[in-house]
């Protein structure tokens, strides 16, 4: 229960910060997405199911706060969190470049899915010539914030492990 409340609070704070503050920063449409990075970090550190749950919860929160249809961000982050969890045991997680690389790849996957969902559900068409540079920049920005977020998720996880 304690873990759920803590992760929930972290997700709420991340979603609020993203929708209220980070979305305002100029960056050719690219917005830093800490929720996605948290989903990827959780997937890597705690497994695919946890990554998927955190991704879904965080994505739904973003959908709620951003005014879009519920499920768009939820689905894309669910897949990104789950996908990162598939590498849980096959990658040496002490590698210092892992958070940045994982966040970069997770962002590419999540944003690609988001655009596909938008097209499939008829919410909008995608200009790939515009979307690709924006997504790459966003992936780069997420890579920058990934190391401290990975470290935070890990320290939370270790604290809960010690308590049990």
């Amino acid at each position: 229960m304690n873990r759920v409340v803590t992760y929930g609070s972290v997700l709420i704070v991340a979603a609020l910060v993203q929708t209220a503050w980070l979305a305002r920063l100029p960056g050719v449409g690219a917005v830093i997405d800490p929720v996605l990075v948290l989903a990827v970090a959780t997937g890597f550190l705690r497994g695919a199911e946890s990554g998927a749950v955190i991704g879904l919860a965080g994505g739904l929160l973003q959908d709620l706060l951003s005014g879009g249809p519920l499920g768009m961000h939820g689905l894309s982050k669910l897949v990104a969190g789950f996908g990162s969890g598939l590498f849980e045991r096959s990658i040496y997680i002490e590698n210092p470049f892992l958070p940045a690389v994982a966040a970069f790849a997770g962002t590419l996957l999540g944003e690609a899915l988001l655009n596909v969902i938008g097209v499939v559900t008829g919410l909008g068409s995608v200009s790939w010539t515009e979307a690709v540079p924006r997504v790459v920049i966003q992936a780069g920005l997420n890579s920058v914030i990934a190391p401290p977020l990975f470290r935070g998720v890990r320290s939370l996880d270790e604290r809960f492990e010690r308590q049990h």
Partner: protein, 274 residues
């Protein structure tokens, strides 16, 4: 065996969550405004929206401060640029005004009617006698320009003085107001002859006028042409007062110099043609 169970559980979780999300998304997309948050979503928004609004206000304030800060920096730069522009334009304006004033003076100088048998050389005043202000001045023309000792110096208003020293590039002019200066003149109206002497200022002393001569205040005094220094007919000044002392053999008068030397900047030097 254990890994297979884990893998199946993973797949089951993924499929379950995806189905849930797709169902949610489908229900959203089917609705008219493509968004139905439901009672749970409304409850969450009821709690989170005030916080989000507060954070947005903080961001707005931050954005305003940042804009103000960058605006101040921009205004400072613009202010500095405009100041330097104003300074430059002021300097330009000063130069242009100076040129306009100089041009007006030159136009006045051109009004000087050339004397027969003389050629004129325009000269700029480059220095004045600091100790005896109205006595002598230096001009930027010398023997290289044909200037010779005793050449007459005048402006469009009247005679100024004569050259007393000449170097190749400059000449010193003894002004008619200098106490060492004396020139032969006539009263233009009555043709009475006399001598004008300097008094160290713009007021000149006219003496040796005939006691019975027809002289009145306001009469114009011009050079007589005698003495070979000043050509005939140059305006010297105008009689201001006449001293008629009883028993005196001759009349004397005070003459105000026609040409003001106080702010003199350009003059004409008259050089006798060989």
């Amino acid at each position: 065996m254990f890994d297979v169970i884990i893998a199946r559980r993973r797949i089951a979780v993924l499929v379950g969550l995806i189905l849930f999300t797709l169902a949610l998304l489908t229900s959203q997309v089917r609705s008219a405004d493509r968004r139905q948050v439901g009672p749970l979503g409304t409850a969450v928004l009821t709690v989170l929206l005030p916080i989000q609004t507060g954070m947005a206000h903080v961001a707005d304030a931050g954005t305003r401060w940042w804009r103000l800060y960058t605006e101040i920096g921009r205004l400072r730069q613009e202010n500095a640029r405009l100041r330097s522009e104003v300074e430059r334009l002021s300097q330009d304006l000063t130069v242009v005004r100076e040129q306009a004033i100089s041009a007006r003076r030159m136009e006045r100088l051109l009004e000087f009617r050339p004397q027969p048998g003389y050629r004129t050389v325009a000269a700029r005043v480059i220095a004045r006698d600091a100790e005896r202000w109205f006595s002598t001045l230096l001009v930027d023309r010398g023997s290289r320009d044909g200037v010779r000792r005793n050449a007459a110096v005048a402006t469009a208003d009247g005679v100024i003085g004569r050259v007393i020293e000449v170097t190749p590039t400059a000449a010193r002019v003894l002004l008619i107001g200098d106490s060492r200066s004396a020139l032969s003149v006539i009263v233009q109206r009555s043709r009475e002859a006399g001598i004008v002497e300097g008094r160290g200022g713009e007021m000149l002393h006219l003496k040796y006028l005939s006691r019975t001569g027809d002289v009145a205040a306001g009469d114009l005094v011009v050079t007589s042409g005698l003495g070979g220094v000043f050509p005939r007919g140059l305006v010297v000044g105008r009689i201001v007062t006449i001293n008629r002392e009883p028993g005196a053999l001759q009349l004397e008068a005070e003459v105000k110099s026609a040409a003001s030397v106080a702010r003199l900047e350009e003059v004409v030097i008259l050089i006798a043609k060989p």
